[in-house]
Subunit: 436 residues, 2 copies
């Protein structure tokens, strides 16, 4: 048990000495203070010297233990340490929101008896964990996948798109898609292209800290996402996450312009080369831009196919252009280059790029700088690439460009049509050119 | 001529109608105002409707032309429109700084007569373009390469390292390396590992706008770099660039923690997961951290070999693990993964990763988030990768990790020694762990 508990070193030895297990009710005596509660697994980023217990109140606290701290077992954990309260009444007079869960930290709950993780997104689970939701919307929750988001695939994007479309056609006011944060931005881009002519908002939401940790962002992110799904005036695919380290506001990023920019912080997501769409503060949706697709009565068009023989290739000094040759030989249909600066790759790669294009592959250029805009007209070498047929993708994120090319080549096999589609601004993936 | 001038559309037609060429002295009459000067090529990000002339004073101005603007040729350009003033006297009593130029925007100057670009980094050129340098140091300038930095290679890193080492051994107080900005951060990392036991600062410097543009950052960046080379108390490899859009301060980033984060802005470079080392303001070097290697009398150790059979692989949904198999079959010695979030790749890639390690490749993990720290102990899947032998690289940038692995495998063929070297903090490439 203690292998999985996250405790180690001296703290682990103290707990083992007290013969306590995760889930047991324990008493900690330190400096004359007494703490009692269920022993829970150590938070992965928490203080290594802390023992974490869940108090009767439901709150978790960490107690820093030292040589003089005493720990006793009060009662063995026989059943789940935390029994969710019964869900509140749903209010059918509220607008309907669909929650389609795909997995990730936001959709998981630790069972303190076993230490195991289980999905917690039935509607009744949700209401019991985040009872505020029942005041905002009439929630229809379903579990579509329970996967870690690094296992998300283009085929699964299609299934999500299909499920969201079905829900929208059933008349909900908005859709919320809980998702692991690792690849949430890729999925947001995928849905931005697959769900055309959207009548309502589709909000992806994740959390960086699980709902069983005191610093969790799960509940607030979910409340913000549901609020936006019900009330926001936009009808786009977006991502809702903490704006800063504080719990003041949830920021809503456009699905084609967002990127995970921190491995662990709660404000990990950022809009790149664009303003966020909106934020949710004190229960209100505040728009941060005037340029957006309006919520309305439009007929959703589902275009769910993605071609997975498309690669994202990051260039660097010493990059081997044989990787490009390999993709061509494997029957790839497209390559997005993540070039340097304004959109460059070493001149020694030109031959491989030209061979790819001569073999019918679509090749496009983005920048590993992430911020700013590709401009291949400044240097001869950029112009050479354009002459070969490399398509400059302006200020589009490399990840969005990859997803869009997968989508474009899933829609058509006609090269001219594919090119026109790739360069057309479909979901604000291109920002208007601004002067420096 | 006009193909290369940058002018297009209606402006190009007006210039062609007036039969003027780049370098000619022209007169522009607009709204009763008269402007006279040498016609110079259009700045790549400038207003498309502007004609740019260099006034007798040496300043460039852009004049927006419309249907009513008149342009006349006054005199054909026969010789360079801009004749550099004679260089000021050098002051042998000042400390010696070596400038070793490798190319890029900072090292180029447009010849207004031909529109061609030529390197401008002989000491005398430098003093005439940036006369302030003669007050700061006794400069010894040489042109090592004149390349666009996307054509930089690991072999060229070795040549730069060797040249810098030679100069340091000759007793200079610091070295400045002008470099194209595209791959400057990669070269900075390479020199950080190749030049061990540094006694003096080595400052890479670039510019985002060429010295012939009114908004150029070239002169100030160079002045800041030379100032740091002479005066800074640190002995590390660093990058000097504009801190903000203003000309107030030049910020100096540590070579292992810096990244180009904008395609065109002058403040394109940022320190990631670390404070910048220092800044230069009003001619003073101000340290921004207390953790740095001190300038001193140490004996430089040159370790200049890089193994180029090392790849940086960015993971994304739909990534094809056959790319990893291909690298193994091609005899690669190492792979740096740019995983998602805390350091993940899809479970379907594990087989290929394991095969790589079984075949003796060194495999390490970084995060495409860029900010934050890899932590592969949070999820089972991360622990599985660690068990296979994947080395988590904490908060190291993917680009720095690539360069470091190339360098490590250039130093040793012993796997245990290589692993120890990769995980040892040699040039502040790992920041100390901070609590969230």
């Amino acid at each position: 048990m203690f292998e999985d508990s996250g405790y180690k070193g001296s703290v682990k030895r103290i707990l083992e000495g007290a013969k306590v297990q995760i889930g047991d009710i324990i008493r900690i005596v330190k400096d004359g203070h007494v703490y009692e509660g269920n022993l829970i697994p150590r938070a992965e980023f928490g203080d290594e010297k802390c023992v974490v217990i869940k108090l009767k109140s439901g709150y978790n606290i960490g107690v820093r233990v030292d040589g003089k701290t005493k720990i006793f077992k009060i009662k063995e954990g026989e059943k789940p340490a935390f029994i969710p309260p019964p869900p509140p009444e749903t209010k059918p007079e509220l607008k309907r929101v669909a929650i389609i869960s795909t997995g990730g930290t936001i959709a998981s709950r630790v069972d303190y008896r076993t230490g195991g993780v289980r999905p917690a997104l039935t509607a009744s689970d949700l209401y019991s964990v985040v009872p505020e939701l029942s005041e905002i919307a009439s929630v229809e929750a379903e579990i579509l996948f329970s996967i870690l988001s690094e296992n998300m695939t283009p085929e699964r994007w299609s299934v999500i798109a299909e499920t969201v479309a079905r829900k929208i056609k059933s008349g909900v006011s908005g859709v919320v898609v809980p998702h692991g944060t690792d690849t949430m931005a890729y999925t947001a881009a995928a849905l931005s292209f697959a769900l055309q002519n959207l009548p309502v908002p589709v909000i992806l939401v994740g959390s960086q800290r699980s709902s069983d940790r005191p610093s969790s962002d799960a509940a607030l992110n979910l409340i913000g996402a549901v609020r936006a799904a019900v009330d926001a005036p936009f009808a786009e695919v977006a991502v809702a996450m903490h704006e800063t380290t504080s719990d003041q506001s949830i920021v809503i990023h456009r699905g084609t312009k967002v990127r995970k920019c921190h491995t662990s912080a709660r404000y990990a997501f950022r809009s790149i080369n664009a303003s966020p769409l909106a934020k949710v503060e004190n229960g209100e949706v505040i728009m941060l831009t005037d340029e957006y697709r309006r919520r309305g009565e439009s007929e959703l068009v589902l275009k769910k196919n993605f071609e997975d023989r498309v690669a994202l290739i990051k260039f660097y000094p010493g990059f081997n252009p044989q990787i490009i040759d390999f993709l061509v030989d494997e029957g790839y249909r497209g390559i997005v280059l993540e070039g340097t600066g304004l959109g460059h790759v070493g001149a020694y790669c030109f031959k491989a790029v030209k061979r790819a294009i001569d073999n019918g592959l679509m090749v496009a250029m983005t920048s590993q700088c992430l911020w700013g805009r590709v401009n291949m007209n400044v240097y001869d070498t950029g112009r050479d690439l354009i002459k070969m047929g490399v398509l400059p993708l302006e200020d589009m994120l490399p990840e969005t460009a990859l997803v869009k090319m997968m989508w474009v080549l899933g829609q058509t096999s006609d090269p001219e049509e594919a090119k026109a589609l790739l360069l057309r601004n479909l979901a604000y993936e291109f920002s208007p050119r601004t002067l420096p």
